[in-house]
Symmetry: C2
Subunit: 306 residues, 2 copies
């Protein structure tokens, strides 16, 4: 199956001017343009852990595998350049799965002018695994790190949160454009994307910046999916709980000094709405700012890696 | 387990000047020095397909996973810069396996001054998977492609062939130094590394160069392991059969014009012996040159990808 697949893929892959030598030799050669600095990230998605192949199908799994990596580049305000795609394919239907997976990710690659620089495929008796390495480039506007938030900075977020499991985690739009545009046009101190959970990822920025974060519950943009989840279940979790802890929203959390934040909120320059949900404060930890203004400790929740 | 592992890894990973931002944020930032061109490759190794974890242990599996990628960079005469390492870990002993795996690959990374720029780990009920992406750099001497061999060029190989399954495939030394040195100091037209099998990989060079290759059986450097395999088994395969078809030798095949070949063979400038095993010829295909000089068609054999 592998030679059939490689043959199919060579025909299917669009040529890309950045690929000085495309897939087919022992390695590929990639031109980085003027910048001799690159941003690299890798995310591995496993069937029955990060998606359920029999429910979502290989096309959605392929889309997600590339999208989560683009979201990591967005979180750094890096411009996507290239990706390498490795897959462990279940023996039954290996070729069909491999092709559908690429049909899922190639339009996304195209949207972001990303070169598919190579990959590896293997067939086995185990479940589907997709491992994507993405290579990006820093821009003149600089990168967005998790550290760098300062007390007084405003906490901004893109989009809405919660209930991603109902479908968003398979079809989200990585916030690459928003990140590049905001970093280029406004002063930003720190940023990350929300993969593990809004409250947990926010607490990471605070921690790595050596400060705290205080949010106002009534400012959190709650998705319709979070409300649906809260209504439909008997676990007692509210829509807000889902927004704070579900994760896989793949929206951005940003730390902006007050003047930049004011301008961003007024301009709303991106394809996605931007909301202020709180401020960074001196006191370390994560806090809820109650209606009266007092601070109440808040437990960061979300997907904890082990 | 993942947070324990990441904590352990951050302590264990040596600092590297090429990593402007190391693992821990959403992505890593890598300095490529003067060259804004990079060589990328990825190889995915699966338990029970590319190694047998219960036989070789995680340390050898980790070594092999990095070494095969370095061999791909060697095959391009590219200088290794960085690697990203993704692993799917079996739930039982996930942490122990992850640590041993890194203990296997880190000394090799150190040997080649390679920065570990990131990775991903996931725990599941499936077998061990290790996916390594390697990033290298072209040098002023240029790259070594599979195409480029010309009729009259000499076929040179490093090292010995066959019987890799007896242990060599888990502990080979990637021919990075040899490739860089030969490409810098001599005129080379084409090259690859032997992963699928000497005769099959040689036929790829011939095919992609639009010519043929004729080898002399009595010139093939046959490893002691190939001889042991031939002696110990009843499958009728000779040591030469093993040398031609076993694969995973991870030695280099090079196409050198006669004058460069003569100098290389005389100088023997590398840590590993270099042998002439034949010549590229006009007539497409793979051939054996018999003692009388006549050409006999030869079936390329080795590991065929499906």
């Amino acid at each position: 199956m592998e030679s059939d697949f490689i043959h199919w893929l060579r025909e299917r892959l669009p040529k890309h001017p950045r690929l000085l030598l495309g897939p087919g030799d022992d390695a590929a050669i990639l031109s980085l343009g003027a910048q001799a600095e690159c941003v690299v990230t890798v995310d591995m998605l496993m069937d029955r852990v990060d998606f359920h192949l029999h429910q979502c199908g290989p096309q959605s799994a392929g889309y997600k595998a590339l999208a989560v990596n683009l979201s990591d580049l967005a979180a750094m305000a890096a411009r996507p350049l290239a990706a390498l795609v490795s897959v462990c394919l279940p023996r039954s239907d290996a070729l069909e799965i491999a092709q559908a997976l690429y049909e899922g990710l190639l339009p996304l690659a195209d949207d972001f002018d990303l070169a598919i620089a190579g990959g590896d495929t293997g067939v086995w008796d185990g479940p589907l695994v997709i491992d994507v390495t993405a290579i990006g480039q820093t821009t003149d506007a600089g990168t967005l790190l998790r550290c760098g938030a300062r007390p007084g900075d405003v906490i901004l977020v893109t989009g809405q949160f919660g209930g991603s499991i109902l479908g968003h985690h398979l079809q989200f739009h990585p916030r690459v454009q928003a990140a590049l545009q905001l970093k280029a046009d406004y002063d930003l101190h720190a940023g990350t994307d929300v993969s593990d959970g809004l409250s947990l990822d926010l607490s990471h920025i605070a921690e790595e910046s050596g400060c705290g974060a205080a949010i106002a519950f009534d400012k959190i943009p709650i998705s319709a999916a979070a409300r649906r989840l809260a209504k439909g279940s008997s676990d007692g979790l509210t829509a807000l709980d889902h927004a704070l802890a579900d994760g896989e929203d793949f929206e951005l959390i940003l730390a902006a000094p007050p003047e930049a934040a004011r301008r961003i909120l007024k301009d709303q320059p991106c394809e996605v709405p931007i909301t202020q949900i709180g401020t960074f404060i001196k006191e370390p930890g994560l806090w809820r700012r109650a209606a009266g203004g007092q601070l109440v400790p808040l437990e960061p929740r979300g997907y904890r890696h082990g």
